[in-house]
Amino acid sequence: MSGFLKLLFRNRLAAVGAVIIGLICLVALATPLLPRADPDVPATADRFQRPFRPGHLLGTDHLGRDLASRLLWGTRLSLAVGVAAALIAGTIGSTIGIVAGYFGGRIDNVIMRGVDMLMAFPYILLALAIVAALGPGLMNALIAVAAVNIPFFARNIRGVTVGLAGREFIDAARLAGKGHTRIILTELLPNVASMIVIAMSTTAGWMILETAGLSFLGLGSQPPVADLGSMLGEARAALITSPHTSVVPGVMIFLIVMSINLLGDGVRNALDPRLRSGALTRPRAVTLVERRGAIPAADQKGLLNIQDLETQFHVGDRVYRAVNAVSLHVNPGEALGIIAESGSGKSVTALSVMGLVASPPGVITGGAVRYEGEDLLAATYRSLREKRGDKVAYIFQDPLSTLHPLFRVGDQLTEAIQAHHKEPDDAARARAVELLKAVRIPNAESRIRNYPHQMSGGMRQRVGIAMALANDPEVIIADEPTTALDVTVQAQILSLLDDLRRERGLAIIFITHDFDVVAQLCERVAVMYAGKIVEEGPTGAILAQPAHPYTRRLMACLPELGGGKRRLAAIPGLPPVVSDLPPGCAFAPRCDKATAACRAGEIPFDGDAAHRVHCLHPEFAPMEVLA
């Protein structure tokens, strides 16, 4: 609770709202004690006095009554009515919602049908109908406003209750022989209470506004007693000659509603976990680059050359070092595998290349990414955009979320083409059909009119590949393109990629956690752990004799088909949290060979240019194998 308050008041606007509404409530409570003139006694001689006259700070109204005094009493009345309406609507509505949600079935059905019916009315209209039936009067306006807000509470609270009613602790209470009433009161109510309070606090402002509205129309409080709405309604006749009589109550309604809105927003924000984690910030078009160290000089390695790349996530004051001094390169026509457990930074490495890491919170803090020698991290948005998809293309995991759900796949393909080539629509469309055929989608001509949700996972993945191929790129970065697919489809897609590589001379960076996939496709492989490359070399050599203890143990996790029964060796422990990396080797805590030296300083990269390992105690010296 105190944590919640702290969070709430860190939001300065919410604090302002709390202070204003607090002050207004205090004054309203203290009104009877204040030495003001009677608000309802007319003094016709003093009609329409301007503000700041002695005795009448805010002037007087059309009957010569002191406006300040009427404002205080009117505010008191409006607040009381608004709060009462919120309490009534909240209590009745929540009760209905809890009953519907808890009992479910037919009861739920009948109740919610009724609620939906009420919600089919534009609700000021419903309030008008109720007042029409009951007759004008503040009490009747209160009832009307409360009544029209009941469906809102019923629906919201029912939603929460349905979620809770299926949970284990409710079943447990039932098995323990508790009655329905007791379960609702002791188990359910405490869990939905906070929701009810929030809903009440956010709607109180509305209800004050609505009752004021009814009073404004002359259907609420009746003379001589006035709430803020009827003050405004009475003042309307003299709007042009004595505007202050309108401005005073109007501004007060505005202040009350605004401060409640501010407070309500603050409450919602403080309780919304997505806002706290910053998940509702807009990612920039290009990942933020803030390189701290010197930019590595260009070496002549590869077509795409990643040098000492560092990518971090800055969340609040924590820094997650997702990618740490990673260097990789790929040559034309070559397939490079990056293999690691999930959360090791392999996807972030891949996304950093074209500035696609969501930012905020992602920041590239060091290194360089060179395409044909040009540093992409220093490139302008324009030049980077021109290369995205045209020179370096991506294939993403999970094509259901990576394809736009509302566009036909054909349109998504033609868009990819037209982003780089000014082709007429029909030419681009013909090319799209060709692409679908190239990735062996049957009936390409009709498939092109499908939406992603009308295709199977394997088909969608082929569309993803077709999209990557659209502009004949030089490099394709495939981020676990087959993880979401079943084995037969996986094999087809891998051989498809392999064919394309041979036919078109593509360079492929293949990211996976699966050694089998690497073995099928890649000439070289890099093993990542906790944002670093721990071992890199020719696939054959590493598969035959892994040098890093982590690589060895990762391979030992694989079940072997027809290999007979053996214990699968899981690696004990979890990868480290990258916000708090230990010095030295990140794998040391899970490694059976670790010594004190492993936990101390930087571990050098050992071996030759072809096969290198980041370990003080490699399984063997890589040089020996090559020799």
């Binding site: 009315f121 309108s246 505005f254 509603v257 910030t281 995205r388």
Partner: protein, 317 residues
């Protein structure tokens, strides 16, 4: 698509019936049937006359019978006769509804365009100057009572600056010309649109922010699609899926919230008719007016659902 629309229309029938039941029940709660009779008869309200009137109005029949008579008459286009205006209820409603439709329709278009525009700009420039300015304006917009805002507009633009007419809809009623209508419409439509604009702007902003995090936005960027197109094409299209239902709700607010605006600006719409009818206890007029507007709202919501199904292919039609 035709079948889908038909299905939605058929499913609206029970809702419409429910609306008539609710309105009828509310109206029959009236404690003061005698008071109504007094309102109609004035000084002729002798006990005999009251009893005769009640019989004429069918009040001696059971509730259910009365409901079905009323419903049956409405289906044949007979909404009854307004005693205060001495003309058929439906004629009066149709006259007044036109004026409300013009006002609420323009306000709805305004709040939709302005709201979505403000929301998209806010999201695209999150935490920038435009975002902060819009957030501030929106906060004021959703907090100010529309009737107060309307009064302040009259004071500023009509009385002090003399730019616009104070009130009325003279262009159509009272023999004015249609080209004059916009001048009369500007202030009431704006005053009516302000709150809804704020609500839509907020929602659009958060819907856009939510969508901009999605994987398919990253895909669009990875393809090399220009950022402007990413936002206006990919993100807005997807955000519309959550914006459109709220447009339906806001249309309801515009339709019924016009009550206040019609009073402030002397607009000859159905809201003002309802308030007058309530104050005069002209029950048939209230009943007919409420049912009519609620039914219009139901049909508008069907249109919203159809629009949603056109936008989102995942909805089964």
């Amino acid at each position: 698509m035709g079948a889908y629309i038909l299905k939605r229309l058929i499913s609206a029938v029970p809702v419409l019936l429910g609306i008539t039941v609710i309105v009828f029940l509310i109206m029959s709660m009236i404690p003061g049937a005698p008071a109504t009779a007094t309102a109609i008869l004035g000084s002729y309200a002798t006990p005999e006359n009251v009893e005769k009137l009640d019989r004429d109005r069918g009040l001696d029949k059971p509730l259910v019978t009365r409901y079905f008579i009323w419903l049956g008459n409405m289906l044949t286009g007979d909404f009854g006769r307004s005693f205060s205006l001495n003309r058929p209820v439906l004629d009066e409603i149709l006259d007044r509804f036109n004026a409300t439709l013009v006002l609420a329709g323009v306000a709805f278009v305004l709040c939709t365009l302005l709201g979505i525009l403000a929301g998209v700009v806010s999201a695209a420039r999150q935490n920038g100057f435009a975002d902060k300015a819009f957030t501030f304006v929106v906060l004021i917009g959703i907090s100010v009572p529309s009737f107060f805002l309307g009064m302040m507009m009259i004071l500023t633009f009509a009385v002090n600056l003399r730019l616009l007419p104070v009130s009325g809809m003279d262009a159509i009623y009272g023999g004015g010309d249609l080209p004059d209508l916009p001048r009369y419409l500007v202030m009431p439509a704006l005053a009516l649109a302000v709150v809804a604009t704020g609500v839509i702007a907020r929602l659009s902003r958060s819907a856009m922010l939510e969508v901009l995090r999605q994987d398919y936005i990253r895909t669009a960027r990875a393809k090399g699609v220009d950022e402007r197109r990413v936002i206006m094409g990919h993100a807005l299209r997807a955000a519309m899926v959550s914006i459109i239902p709220v447009l339906g709700i806001q249309a309801g607010f515009a339709l019924s919230g016009s009550v206040y605006i019609e009073i402030v600006f002397q607009w000859p719409g159905i809201g003002r008719m309802l308030v007058d009818a309530i104050l005069k206890r002209d029950i048939l007029l209230v009943q007919g007016g409420v049912v009519f507007v609620a039914a219009a709202y139901v049909f508008f919501n069907i249109a919203v659902e159809v629009a949603q199904s056109l936008l989102d292919p995942r909805i089964k039609t």
